[in-house]
Structure formats: structure tokens, C-alpha cells
């Protein structure tokens, strides 16, 4: 309110007007919104692709499409969801918007680099998606691009790989930017251990982005070189080793799971204390577990390859470390629960999302224990159980965290409030749909249905019907949530500065924030 005479970032007019004023803006808040709109657009596409797959699987045999289309659709669904949505997701949207404000800075340390990251993201997306529209068939390798099939297939794999490569750069640049921002721009008096938990989670994430992403970059380039120049890295026909590809791929892609989930945990660590009206239980333990996850997460990639024929020693080590990496996540869960103890809990939309996050995340994490066990993994590897597990973690964990965050910060971002009863209805339908969709897939996996199956034997039919039915429910909930938010961003009632009584710095600035966030950089006592 003290800021009300200065223009907010939505109204501000710079060098360019209209759309140009957005796509060339270096304001971290506008860039955050650019990511929000682009990621949400891709997300809707990805979700509809998922719906098509579930439609196809509602009955054995052909339902609505041929095997060829099904394979292309699950590949596109994977590439979009992983590379365009959950990896950039929370850091690029909510992190860009709130990281500087929460540490008391006017912007990120390299605002121009930040804009370049978004442009690279768009470029990568366009290149990756061009594979759908070019002459020839859509890629049909799955998002993992396993060798040597990715060399055999006649489909447009190259643009998809090059797109993923460019997206990797976008991710690295965002990571570097965030690390430097937190090292250099914390407000006077904000010691490391006074930094809020959402920035802390972004810090852990950023290090993974910077250190792990180059490996996938190199790997993808090796595949390109092998396809174009016939250099034998991975294809046995050229003297290469397909298992080497899997190692390199998962050295990145497993830590990438933590790039996805850590920021979501950060959001939850903000939302729960606010709505329990209490500070987080065991701040230090939560920070340490964030860093532990980021660190140990590097050494467990081999659990994606238990059946690929590794040595006894590596199997022992990878299974052991996989169980260990569960511990810091468990610690976080206990601290979130303990934060509720003796709180004074207000149940509003963001809190519904946060509480359901806890439930979904527990199922996701605990089902990971089953997969980490060597003997059980042999049976479950590459089955629907794995698909259910990672959708609980990657879609549930990241999605519920993201929706908790967007409903939490929405009044700050747009300066307007959404319709709470529609938001709660959307949440409930989505939550029920989510469980109905993915829980039966655990059962399907246990009874032996392999993943990436276009068709299946009759004994898998009943559970598939329930699962497909859940997909329809979930999409209905999603539609309600998104329509409600879009409508409210324009027409919702004006929001206060601090509608939930949050304690972090973003709640001290006006809604929406002014161009450089603070009139005066705050001092932390």
C-alpha cells in the first residue's frame, strides 16, 4: 500500500508496448508469467495426449487409433511433460517470480540471461515439436530414446533430440542465474539460514541443473553424431554398447527427478506453515535434507537398469543407495506433519493441495521402496507399476505442489482473488480422478502388465477400465481449475497485500508487486 503510487509490473510501460513489452521484458516477474503461459499451454496439450492414450486402453484391441499413433503419442506425451513442463515448471514459473522477492532483491542477478533462457526454452520447444509436423513419421522411441531402437526407427528423432539439447541449455542458464542470485543478492541481514525454504529448494535444484544437465547434452549429441555420422557409441551394429547409453541417460535423468520434485517440496514448506499459522518444524533439518537429496540423488541412477545385466557389486550399491535417498524425503514428510501439531490450521484451497500433496507423495515415495528392492524390481521393472509410481511422484508430487503454489501466490501475482469454491471443487474432482487413474496401474503392474503396451491380454481389462475412467474425471477437474484461474486473473475481486498472513517478504509488497518489487530494499533482523 505504501507502494501504491508506483506502477505495478503488469501495468508498467517500458520501451515496448503490448506483447513486445512482455517477450522482451527482463523483469523476472514478467518472465515468470511468460513461462506460466507457455508451460500451461504445453501442459494442456500433454494432458490431452495422456487422455487419448487412456481412451485407447479402455478396451483391448484397437479402440480409437493404430499402434503407430499410440507409440507416437506416448513419446510426445513423455517429451512434452518431462522436458517442457515438469523440468522447467516450478523453478521457471514460481521461482522466477518469487525467488528475488523472497530474498529481498529487485531482480535476478542476470536479468538479460533470464530472458535468453525463456527464448531458448521456446526455441527448444519449437524444434522438438517440429518433429511432429515435418515430412515423415512422428518420433516413436519413448521419451527415453533408448539405443539402438532410436537408430533403427525411420521417424523424426533428430529434431526431438536437438530440441531437448537446446532445452537443456535453457535449464542450465536458469540454474546458474539462481545460484548467483542467491549468493549475491540476499537482502542485508538475510543469512543463509534465514533464507526461506522455497529459495533453499531452488538452490539445491539449481546445482543439479548446472551439474547434471551437461551430461544429457553430451549424450544427446552423441546420438545425433551416431545417427548422422555413423560413429558407433551405442549401436552394437556399429560396435557400440546400448547399455552405455542407458547409463549416460539416467546419470542425468535420475537427478532430473529431483530437479522436478525439490522445488515442489519447497512450495509445500511455505504453504504448510502459513496455513498452520506456525513456523516450520525443524527448519535446519528441512534445509539439510534438501541438500542431501540433491547430493545423494546423483548416485542412484542405476536403479533404472536393474534388469539390464549389471555386475553384482553395482546392483548392490545402486539398490542400497536408492533406499538411502528415501531417508531425507521421509525426514521432510515428518517435519511437515510435525508442523501441523499444535498449529491453528486454516483449510483453504492452497492447503487442500498441500495436504493432498502429502498423501500422494507418501504413496509415490513408498511405492519407490518396492521398486528399489532388487527382487521386487525384477518383477515390476517396465510394468504399469513403474508408470503409476512415477506419475505419483512426477505428476502428483510436482503437480499438487505447483497447484498449491499457484493458488497460494495467485493473489500476489495478479492482484486478484480467485473463486474459492470453484477452486475447491476443481481440487476435489482432480484428486479423486488422480487416484482413480493411477492406483489401478499399481495393480496392473503387480499382475504383470508391461508398460508402453498398445494392446493387452483380457485379464488386464477391468483395471484398465477403472483407470481410463479416472482419466476422464481428472481432466474434468483440471478444466474447472484452469478456467477458474484464467477467469479470476481478469475478473476476480481485488486481493489484499497478505490474504493468508504469510510471513515471508513477498507478503510485505503490494499485490501485484511494483516493477522492482521494493521501494527500499528491506533489512532483515
Amino acid at each position: 500500500m505504501s507502494n501504491s503510487n508506483l506502477p505495478n509490473y503488469l501495468e508498467y510501460k517500458g520501451k515496448y508496448k503490448g506483447l513486445l513489452g512482455w517477450i522482451f521484458s527482463t523483469d523476472h516477474k514478467r518472465i515468470g508469467l511468460l513461462y506460466l503461459y507457455s508451460v500451461m499451454t504445453f501442459f494442456i496439450v500433454g494432458a490431452l495426449l495422456g487422455l487419448l492414450m487412456k481412451f485407447e486402453l479402455i478396451a483391448p484391441g484397437k479402440t480409437i487409433m493404430e499402434a503407430k499413433s499410440y507409440n507416437a503419442i506416448f513419446t510426445l506425451h513423455g517429451i512434452t511433460m518431462i522436458f517442457l513442463i515438469v523440468i522447467p515448471g516450478i523453478p521457471a514459473i514460481l521461482g522466477n517470480f518469487f525467488l528475488p522477492i523472497m530474498i529481498g532483491a529487485k531482480d535476478v542477478f542476470y536479468p538479460k540471461l533470464n530472458l535468453i533462457s525463456w527464448w531458448l526454452y521456446i526455441l527448444g520447444a519449437v524444434v522438438a515439436l517440429s518433429s511432429q509436423f515435418m515430412h515423415g513419421a512422428s518420433p516413436d522411441t519413448g521419451w527415453t530414446f533408448y539405443a539402438p531402437y532410436s537408430f533403427r526407427t525411420q521417424s523424426n528423432v533428430l529434431p526431438a533430440l536437438i530440441g531437448a539439447f537446446i532445452l537443456g541449455f535453457s535449464s542450465i542458464l536458469t540454474g546458474i542465474n539462481f545460484i548467483v542470485t542467491m549468493h549475491r543478492l540476499r537482502a542485508p541481514g538475510m543469512k543463509w539460514l534465514k533464507m526461506p525454504l522455497f529459495p533453499w529448494s531452488l538452490y539445491g535444484t539449481a546445482w543439479i541443473q548446472v551439474l547434471a544437465t551437461p551430461i544429457i547434452g553430451i549424450t544427446l549429441l552423441m546420438v545425433v553424431a551416431e545417427r548422422v555420422l555413423n560413429i558407433g557409441f551405442f549401436d552394437p551394429a556399429l560396435g557400440g554398447d546400448p547399455v552405455l547409453y542407458q547409463h549416460l541417460f539416467w546419470i542425468y535423468s535420475h537427478p532430473a527427478v529431483y530437479i522436478m520434485i525439490l522445488p515442489s517440496m519447497g512450495v509445500i514448506s511455505e504453504v504448510i506453515p502459513t496455513f498452520a499459522r506456525k513456523e516450520i518444524f525443524g527448519y535446519n533439518a528441512v534445509v539439510i535434507s534438501t541438500l542431501l537429496i540433491a547430493f545423494v540423488g546423483y548416485f542412484v541412477w542405476g536403479h533404472h537398469m536393474f534388469t539390464a545385466g549389471m555386475s553384482e557389486t553395482s546392483l548392490f550399491a545402486f539398490s542400497f543407495l536408492t533406499f538411502l535417498v528415501a531417508i531425507p524425503s521421509a525426514i521432510k514428510t515428518f517435519n511437515w506433519l510435525a508442523t501441523l501439531y499444535k498449529g491453528s490450521i486454516i483449510l483453504k484451497t492452497p492447503m487442500y493441495w498441500a495436504v493432498s500433496f502429502l498423501f500422494i507423495f507418501m504413496i509415490g515415495g513408498l511405492s519407490g521402496m518396492v521398486l528399489g528392492s532388487l527382487a521386487a524390481n525384477v518383477h515390476l521393472h517396465d510394468t504399469a507399476f513403474v508408470v503409476a509410481h512415477f506419475h505419483f511422484i512426477v505428476f502428483g508430487g510436482v503437480g499438487f505442489g505447483f497447484f498449491a503454489g499457484i493458488h497460494y501466490w495467485f493473489p500476489k501475482i495478479f492482484g486478484r482473488m480467485y473463486d474459492a469454491s470453484w477452486a475447491d471443487t476443481g481440487w476435489l474432482i482432480f484428486f479423486i480422478g488422480f487416484l482413480t487413474l493411477y492406483a489401478p496401474m499399481f495393480y496392473l503392474g503387480i499382475t504383470g502388465m508391461p508398460r508402453r503396451y498398445y494392446d493387452y491380454v483380457p485379464e488386464f481389462h477391468p483395471a484398465n477400465i477403472i483407470s481410463s475412467f479416472g482419466a476422464f474425471i481428472m481432466i474434468a477437474g483440471l478444466a474447472i481449475i484452469i478456467i477458474n484461474l484464467i477467469r479470476s486473473a481478469k475478473k476476480g475481486p481485488k486481493a489484499e497485500e497478505s490474504p493468508w498472513g504469510g510471513k515471508t517478504l513477498e507478503w510485505t509488497v503490494s499485490s501485484p508487486p511494483i516493477v522492482e518489487n521494493f521501494e527500499e530494499i528491506p533489512e532483515i533482523k
Binding site: 546400448p242 513456523e279 498423501f359 513408498l366 532388487l374 510394468t383
Partner: protein, 313 residues
Amino acid sequence: MYSNLSNFSEGVDNAFVIIFSVIAVFLVGLTVLLIYFLFRYSEKRNPQPTPIKGNMWLEIVWTIIPLGLVLGMFYYGWMAWIPMLSKAPENSIEIKTTAQMWSWKFEYENGKRTDTLIIPLGKPIELIANSPDVLHSLYIPAFRIKRDIVPGRITTMWFKANREGEYNLFCAEYCGLQHSYMKTEVKVLSPEKYDEWYIDTTAAVALTSIPGAAGLKIIRDMGCTACHSLDGSTLVGPTYKGVFGHEVDVITNGKERKVIADAEYIKNSINNPNDDIVKGFNKGLMRSYKNELTDDEIEQIILYLQTLSGGKE
């Protein structure tokens, strides 16, 4: 659970039961606690929050207890896994297994070939598997076994079946277009019935007296029908129906031309499949069978193809 259909299923199912019990206790316990907190400490029942910063001892306790539990889970998983790693017993029946896009091929010690895995009850079976094209994974859910088959390597796995019956055998590693159709059955026979089946080669002999029957058997056993139909429908490759002796549009070295599908053409298409690509189909999908089919066997196939085109050329 505990169907005990193979020598490994009990260990795997044990690990399952132990891990599922632990996680069920956690999931139910924590969920109940969560709901209780939401209820007991709601704004209405507890208007004034009590500030608590944390508790070192609690943090230590809830680090140590899960640590102990996950080590236990790890241990059971490891113990059940060790026997799978062990070498197959000396008296195992060795079956050469080929996983290929998109069918399975099994070859027995006496040269008998099948597309379903036929094994005797209670005897150790060793599968010696390879793939001529891409990654596949041999998965028999009922037996709780799975192993990736990596091209360029020989992969071995062994097991014993504990009960007679028919079980699904799937390919679990995505391998392209017809991945979900790369499935077959495991038939577990009593040792007597198995021996009968194994020794009996008369069935094949009887069949050869009908023209083309032996060729059809080769086509089936080699998995050709995964890509080439016998009834005129289009799959990944051209159908066999009505090909022999007729004119075909092919692409040779990038140029379109017409050829007559005679014996020589068929033979070359089996041995060097990428020389002439039938118009409308993709190059590079089929591999050469030069080292897998003898000239005699190709003759048999040609005999059979003639019956699909209504006689000789």
C-alpha cells in the same frame, strides 16, 4: 501372491509381502495422523497456535527408525535376488532364445524350433538369449522373472517351473511398432509329456508330405508372420498372399522398377532384404536371414508361397 509357480517366486513374493507390510503401516499411520492433526488443531478447536521451533531428538529418532527399516527392506530384496544371479545347474535344459522385432524363437538341443516356450515341470531351464535387432526384455510374470536382452550380447537366465499350465510371456522393453504383440506362451508339461513332445519329430515329417506345409512351419517358427500376413492384410511388411509369380513395384537403389517375384527374387529378399524395397514400405526394418535359414529351408518357404498364389509360375 504366494502362487509359487517357479523356484524364484517365493523369494520375490516374500520381499513383496515384507515391503508392502512396512509401507502399509507407514501410509495408514501417517495418513491417520495427518487427518487427526487437521481435525484436532483446526482453527476452531485450537485458535491459538503454540510456537515450536523443532526438536533435535525427534529428528534423530525419525532418521534412525526409517533408516533401520529401509536397511531391512534392502536386505530382503537382496537375499531374494542372489539366487537369480547364480549359475544355472549343470543338468539344465538349454534353450537358445531369439528375441526379435516382434516375435520369439526357441531352439532346442535337438534342433527343434518353436515360437512358444515348451518346458518340462520341475527341471531347470536355461535360456541363452540374444537379439539380432534392438533391446527386448523377456518377462514371465507368473514366474517373477525378467531379463533385458541386449543386442550384441548373450544373456542367460534360468528357472524351474513348479506347476503345469500355460503362462504369458511378454516383451517388457519397448521395441517399436508391434511391441505389445511380442508375446507368446510358456507351456509347462509333465516330464513324460515333454519327452514325448521333444522326441517326436514325426509331426513335422507328416506335415512335409503336404506341399508347402514345412515352409509354413518355418515361417511361423522364425516369426516372419509378425510383419508379413498370410491373408492379404498389410502389416509392417508386404503380405505373402499372391506375391509369388506376380509383378511387384520395388525401389532399387532409389529407383522405381517392376520385377517378377520369382524364386530368385524371394531368395534375395530373404538374404538381402534391403536390396529391393516394395513400394510403400520402409527400408531398414528387416534384417538378413542369410545365416539363419539354409537354402533348403528357403526352398520350403518358396514352395509354401506358391500355394498362396494359386500354383506354380
